[in-house]
């Protein structure tokens, strides 16, 4: 079954901006799905329409088969959302924010308290339950929004850049939490600017740019299309002369750092041999950027050309 079904979705804002140009998208039940795109591509508008915070201009949206136009209440019950920006009252206590959300979904007080305890403990916020939300750190605020979104046990969870601005340790904890949640059966749609995050977590990826879906496929297949990688070499000593190789384009970043483009069809040993022959000693080597990031840039820039 489709957790999310979008057909011909369009949005034109009152100022004439065509934010979405008739996109189609399907997310299968149980999937961990990434919706990627540059700023202003239409990600937040898409999420806004799914969560009924933005009125669509045309098209159809169904959540677990429930049409937003005809069966909105049932659709909303299936959906949990963690928005990009903090959207809770900064004057309320953590526990009140979570239990009130349960109340909006018509959960009785006892159930609300039990679930609030469960999720606040899972997200390491239980000790902060009586704190006023504005006193929380950025990472805690993000986790609070996740706890709030889960309180009614949604089947589909949408996270709009959930790890923005949180440190790497908390980010990895959140990844573990989301992976576990997905294994328990919750379908997750994630937008992120950390493409490493999408590569590690998501099985399927759609890339949206300029209001159109320009790619929608399995993460593995998408990465398989990457035919080249750029490696960065840190040298032990500064280069005394300019070096060139016919098969491996070399860019000199500074006198002890080289960038080398390696096609998948080539053998990198060949390049090491070349370095040895030129008596160049390498201290360390790394990928210039995450693989998905390179592909993303290639696809988005390709679209613009």
């Amino acid at each position: 079954m489709d957790a999310l079904y979008i057909e011909g979705l369009s949005k034109t804002y009152s100022n004439g901006v065509h934010a979405l140009k008739g996109i189609d998208l399907r997310v299968k039940e149980g999937d961990f799905f990434a919706l990627l795109g540059p700023n202003g591509a239409g990600k937040s508008t898409t999420i806004g329409i799914i969560t009924s915070l933005v009125n669509k201009s045309a098209g159809k949206v169904k959540i677990f088969g429930h049409d937003l136009d005809t069966d909105l209440v049932a659709a909303k019950r299936c959906l949990g959302v963690v928005p990009q920006e903090f959207n809770f009252s900064i004057f309320e206590k953590v526990i009140d924010i979570v239990t009130n959300q349960a109340g909006y979904y018509a959960l009785d007080r006892k159930t609300a308290m039990e679930r609030a305890e469960k999720f606040l403990k899972q997200l390491s916020l239980w000790e902060k339950r009586d704190s006023i939300s504005k006193t929380l750190s950025g990472g805690m605020k993000r986790r609070l929004m996740i706890a709030r979104a889960l309180i009614h046990h949604p089947k589909l969870l949408i996270l709009d850049e959930p790890t923005a601005g949180v440190d790497i340790e908390i980010r990895r904890d959140m990844w573990r939490f989301l992976t576990k949640l997905n294994q328990e059966g919750v379908t997750i749609i994630l937008t992120t600017h950390y493409l490493e995050e999408a590569e590690n977590l998501c099985r399927n990826i759609a890339i949206i740019d300029n209001g159109d879906i320009i790619e929608n496929t399995k993460t593995k297949d998408l990465l398989g299309r990457l035919d080249r990688e750029i490696f960065v070499f840190d040298l032990k000593e500064p280069l005394s002369k300019k070096i060139e190789h016919p098969k491996y384009p070399i860019t000199l970043i500074d006198e002890t750092t080289l960038e080398v483009e390696v096609l998948k069809t080539n053998n990198i040993n060949e390049f090491f041999q070349f370095l040895t022959e030129n008596q160049i000693q390498v201290c360390s080597m790394r990928n210039k950027s995450n693989r998905l990031e390179e592909l993303f840039m290639y696809l988005v820039q390709g679209e613009k050309k």
Binding site: L53, P83, E85, F86, N87, S89, G103, Y105
Partner: protein, 257 residues
Amino acid sequence: MTFQEHYIVFMTIFRKEFNRFMRIWTQTLIPPIITMALYFVIFGNLIGSQIDKMQGFSYMEFIVPGLIMMSVITNSYMNVSSSFFSSKFQRSIEEILVSPASNGIIILGYVAGGVTRGLMVGFLVMVVSIFFTKLSIAHLGVLICFVVLTAIVFSLAGLLNGIFAQKFDDVNIIPTFILTPLTYLGGVFYSIELLSPLWRSISQINPILYMVSGFRYGFLGISDINIFAGLSILILFTIILFSLNLYLLKRGVGLRS
């Protein structure tokens, strides 16, 4: 959604609203009491002692119902307009908008919060007035009908203001330029019998006159208007404002792009 589910959602919004104004009671409950106590001292005691009886009652007795009603109107209106607008401003309104809560229940929840604050402040002002004059109640049923319906009408009006408001200034424009003049000219401090026929006719367009006079009838048994006309106007305003709010929430005016 079942009736029970609607009730849970309503109680959640109401509890949140109640906790909000109780959390800031020094801003929401105390200032109107101090203001009204000053009215009692200055207009009632100092100036009022120099004024003849008004429709058979001392000036202090005459203005107390009007001043109680004035605090109910202001507080029920301000509670909903400021709370709803700040929910929009902080975007915490999205918590409710993404949930299955129906628009009707959202309105009822906010209005219940406004009515509760209005009635609480009205009650406290009434308690303070006992220190200045003897209060008697002529028609309890009429008094309750008028005060509750007025609080509902102004809570609904406050919600309307909150829906349309784009910035904090917008929340204060209506109370400053419309609500306060209409209240002062609505017979709080005088009987319209004192006015010339022309101004008496003009005053009868002011809906607040009906609310104040009806409420005064509940206390003193005297009124400038027909009580049934007053009740009818209040019911009519309740229906119109509720329907308008419902329509605007459904359309997502001020809430959805």
